[in-house]
């Protein structure tokens, strides 16, 4: 009696989670605390800089939750877009739901054109000096390492090599 109730419960909740028809596009919600970049926009796919590596979401992708590392979010509005829309994000989270709605939540996102290459290089060098002069394991060293990581990623995104 108990096992029959349990299995019918799981069957009913599974039916609720799965949509009856396949999604044809990704519904993108891309927001920052201060503004919403996209709300419910139908796009072909989104490529996200996950902590475990870059990954792409297309329609009917398996549900997925990922922390993002500082990197580039690429939005392909049409299939086979030669020119995806790119935003550099400072981190955040991306959630893909069973119905192909994808939420990308970031503290800050900018277009690549708004990044100043000389400032990025200057900041990277200053951070590297701070890193080597800070005490090992201290907050100052961690902050310098954070600055180094994000300026290096920004440099890679705009084509400035820093090391």
């Amino acid at each position: 009696m108990l096992s029959r109730t349990a299995s019918s419960f799981f069957r009913r909740s599974a039916t609720r989670c799965m949509s009856t028809e396949a999604a044809t596009a990704v519904k993108l919600n891309f927001c920052l605390p201060q503004e919403t970049l996209y709300k419910g926009a139908s796009v072909h796919s989104v490529i996200l800089p996950g902590m475990g590596g870059e990954y792409g979401i297309t329609a009917n992708h398996v549900p997925y939750v990922s922390q993002l590392k500082p990197g580039v979010v690429k939005i392909l509005h049409e299939e086979g877009s030669a020119d995806p829309e790119k935003y550099f994000v400072a981190g955040g989270y991306a959630l893909t739901h069973p119905d192909s709605t994808t939420d990308v939540i970031c503290p800050e996102a900018v277009k690549l054109d708004d990044i100043d290459p000389s400032e990025v290089a200057k900041k990277y060098d200053a951070a590297r000096t701070k890193f080597s002069s800070a005490a090992a394991g201290s907050i100052e060293q961690a902050e310098a390492q954070i600055e180094m990581e994000i300026t290096k990623e920004m440099g890679m995104a705009i084509g400035v090599s820093l090391n």
Binding site: P33, Q34, P70, F88, A90, G91, G92, P107, E108, V110, K111, D113, D114, I115, D116, E119, V120, K123, G137, S138, I139, Q141, A142, E143, Q145, I146, E147, E149, I150, T151, M154
Partner: protein, 72 residues
């Protein structure tokens, strides 16, 4: 047992995720071109207002220069 930390370097140094993500966002804002930079830096701006209560009534809320001045 190895002594390698099993979590991120910033947690080992004592930072929380919020401190970490605000640091990355702040660094990113500082290397932008104008006018995006001014718009972005506004996100980091903060100020304090203080109101003095007297005889059960709240006085006007006025901005204070810094948190140390708020108690005076």
């Amino acid at each position: 047992m190895s002594s390698t930390p099993v979590t991120t370097f910033w947690r080992v140094a004592g930072m929380s995720y919020l401190q970490y993500i605000n640091k990355t966002a702040g660094t990113m804002r500082s290397v932008l071109k104008e006018p995006a930079k001014t718009r972005a830096m506004a996100q980091e701006a903060y100020g304090y207002n203080a109101a003095v209560w007297e005889a059960g009534k709240q006085g006007p809320k006025l901005p204070v220069a810094n948190i140390q001045q708020a108690g005076k």
